[in-house]
Symmetry: D2
Subunit: 302 residues, 4 copies
């Protein structure tokens, strides 16, 4: 039986996980990280997978329901003879169907994983029902504005990307030379999305990821958020599985034991090209009531 170790750190009734850590001082200090006035998006594109002859072309895990994007009225309709509204207005409108996990850049809610009968902070797991999670849902994450610290492990190791199955150790993180502060958003680059660029069929697995000891090292530093450009934070083996035992599972470690949000499937190549170090990090998950995750577009303000 594994035990949670940071339940209650944020207060016994607090449903908002790490956000208590984001004090006014942390936020103010973060704004001082902006030096160039340059805004960089860390998100992959959300590409509808319907009847397009083109391949999906963006990283995703196999077997997941891919995003579907539909236009309910478009320019083609006007070309075909649809009359503009009233005085001459043309309008286009659309719909998105999205299951974020494994299909696009997304933030996991604290409710996304647990063991036993309780969610993070001891809320009953039975509160996660078909209407959504009334505890620890993504709507509880709030807006996250803090300092982002970029640990470009692939660059540090002198490779374009880490190898599939490679586990990042605490020493690799430490070797990046950053001084982490409580409340930081740690952004870790494996470079793995480059594999998708050169050979989409090699993307899904194996994948590099964090080792359990690297996870502990981050949790001890009281970071607010762990953000990576792989699909599952942990490494994936040749069959697409995380092979850590339950007591070393990285999702449980971060989400369930420590209330640390996880941000997955980032695109960090622009940060890499700019040799970014720290910056103002902003993340605004959609306020989906009871959601298990939100597709997001995290921004680094350098």
């Amino acid at each position: 039986m594994i035990e949670p170790n940071n339940w209650g750190r944020w207060g016994p009734d607090d449903e908002r996980g790490t956000l208590n850590l984001l004090t006014p001082e942390v936020v103010l200090a973060a704004t001082r990280s902006v030096r160039q006035g340059r805004v960089v998006s860390l998100a992959l594109p959300i590409r509808g997978s319907t009847s397009s002859p083109a391949r999906l072309g963006v990283p995703h895990l196999p077997g997941r329901p891919l995003p579907q994007h539909f236009m309910s009225v478009d320019g083609g309709d006007y070309a075909a003879g649809t009359r503009p509204i009233g005085p001459g207005l043309c309008v286009c409108d659309d719909a998105l169907v999205v299951s974020p996990h494994g299909t696009t850049t997304h933030l996991d809610a604290l409710c996304h994983m647990w063991t036993g009968d309780q969610l993070y902070n001891g809320h009953a797991a039975s509160r996660v029902r078909s209407y959504g999670a009334t505890r620890c849902g993504i709507d509880k994450a709030g807006g996250i504005v803090t300092r982002g610290v970029f640990l470009d492990v692939a660059a540090r190791l002198g490779v374009p990307h880490l190898d599939g199955g490679f586990r990042i150790g605490a020493d690799h993180l430490e070797a990046c030379g950053a001084q982490l502060r409580p409340g930081d958003a740690v952004v870790i680059r494996t470079g793995w999305p480059l594999v998708h660029e050169s050979d989409p069929s090699s993307y899904a697995h194996p994948q590099p990821g964090l080792s359990y000891e690297a996870g502990l090292w981050l949790a001890e530093r009281d970071v607010a958020l762990v953000a990576m450009d792989n699909a599952a934070i942990a490494a994936l083996d040749d069959h697409g599985r995380c092979t850590e035992p339950l007591e070393e599972d990285l999702h449980l470690l971060f989400l369930w034991r420590h209330g640390i949000h996880l941000l997955e499937m980032l695109w960090l190549e622009e940060l890499h090209a700019l040799a970014a170090t720290d910056f103002l990090f902003t993340l605004a998950p959609l306020t989906i009531e009871g959601g298990t995750a939100s597709p997001v577009n995290p921004l680094a303000v350098l």
Copy 2:
């Protein structure tokens, strides 16, 4: 025949609308607006409308397809006997179906409205097809980080909320006393969502909104974005219609003639309670390729 007047302001081939305005200087100056280190979300909740016995309970326009949120596995399943994954991991997962316009806080893409055969900047409207808009889609809006300026018109006029059908004049905006700078995100409060709190059936129409002359006044000031807490920027009459003639249509004025993004259906009551003036404004639309809008969670960092 109405004419666009700011096509090309951002460069003839630029698909990114106002963002050229968001120079490094604008971004750096915006970070200096943060004084308290307080993060405020300006988004309404996204509440799934499926079989819940509860009423939808959030502002929306009638006749629009409401968001649907589904759990594909949840705590109820485990309570009913579903076995955890492998070693004891429980997981919840979900899907969202959303048509942003009229149903939740969202940013309009520049392609959302046009007249004639051309989108903003002269791109052919026929490029907006069932696969999405290959010009002026929401994926082109990028991340927006700039100074936010709060014009609390309702407070200025000493009312809880403006009346349905009321049109805000340039003089009302000016009376708020803010000095607008090019690239600002202007956030205008009507207080109208309070009507939904007291009587949901009165929300849809009429609604207060901007007058055309107020729109011109904003466009002349080169703002990057106009953000409001009503549903259509313009006022709505008793039947839910904008009654401006084509040449004074506010969506055309902003999106099509000036390349100014529109952010609708905000929740501004917290900014009001805090008597906010200016702040760091961040907005990160989802990178939906070819999307006509994105649900968003705009943040004000006071």
Copy 3:
């Protein structure tokens, strides 16, 4: 505590409800009901509710998620310049999002309603989970081919349609003069959809429906299926509610106590105009694994 009374009638392990009743003899006899060779559809249209300026225009209950129909490629795209596939083929493709209850002509699965901890035939209710119902789902209904018997109660009472709130009694059914046989599909006309034709806003409630004693009368006759043109079989009061006490609830009576499928929201005006009496009735619910219902297009072959 109410008791099921026909569990086991179809065999203790039978998941297929009434179908045992549909013996070869019943099916063969049903084919002999065809006299004219005329095929009549009993379904309402399924109309996508997205951004069309047109009103939905088809009967539905308020608060239900309406069907959404999207074209993922269409003729408008080709008009706008999309190139045909390879040698000159044009194709259109689409998607449907549908929640059948209350939105269109549909067949309820036996799992749709229950009381206590057990579904029809004593299956554990906990087998109905996020992946669907592994017992009594709509995929278990199979294809239904039997004799249809038309009880045009509105015509019998000499009115265009029954009044909202009116409860059909056993005597009204009996007065229609039909000799019911075990395994028959009983098709009962209230005429209520005509109200939608003249005033859509009056459709939802109140509605006429069956009384409990009429329900008992039907159950005693071992019918295979009860089919009606109202939205809930039972009558609805001014607030859209069925007001029968639990022990007289018509959904429980038919689905749960007797394993009799319910078919709702039919269009019976063509049968009425033809003064139909009995006919070959065919119903082919989609094989949605674990579904709670299926949209259907029931056919009467006169």
Copy 4:
């Protein structure tokens, strides 16, 4: 430039394709094909593809958006503590997202494919827009009740299933010995779904199918419908493509030149096991206004 050859056969303004062929005499004669009173479903299961650990497990073409089935309230919720409605009623409810082509048993609408600017019968292709096809949509197909004739080509050739890429010739059809009549639904078995049973990864391509000359042979016999258990009527090569030139394309031949509906992805193993010959065939496509197809559950009444 290829030419349609049967436009107008069903009348210049007739939007209902082959149905004129289904005269009362044809329907009456069809009912006389019922000899055993046995109802056989010809549909594959519709299985939601969301977060289930189970593989999809049903035949489908790669790259297509798979059906998604969601429960909006289920037995798990009650197990987790959700309170029954009012007096003790438990209810389950669900939603289905489906794109029929290539994912399940479905009937193609006549609008599904065309060449040039016109649909079947000369309707403008520009009438197929984002709101659906106002001409030749699946809602125009109506209910189909006719004689079904089973041509078990695989059995005739003495193989469990035809080989991938094999093209059925007119001689193979003729060798089955059936006397086709105008208006018949011809049901042709390749046995290909058995490949999915033994090795799902071999299902998609290649596939056996009809040759063009076999298509002509069927069209000349004025059949109402061609129904098969492969995915595209035509054969698919190793890359999943139909390689016929435009003038011999089978979808164009049937849908566009002759107004003959196509029914794909059937499950015919039960008919095979029963050594069926002819029977009453019923097909009731959903009345999706403007749809390009409908998922269906075709029934054979032996």
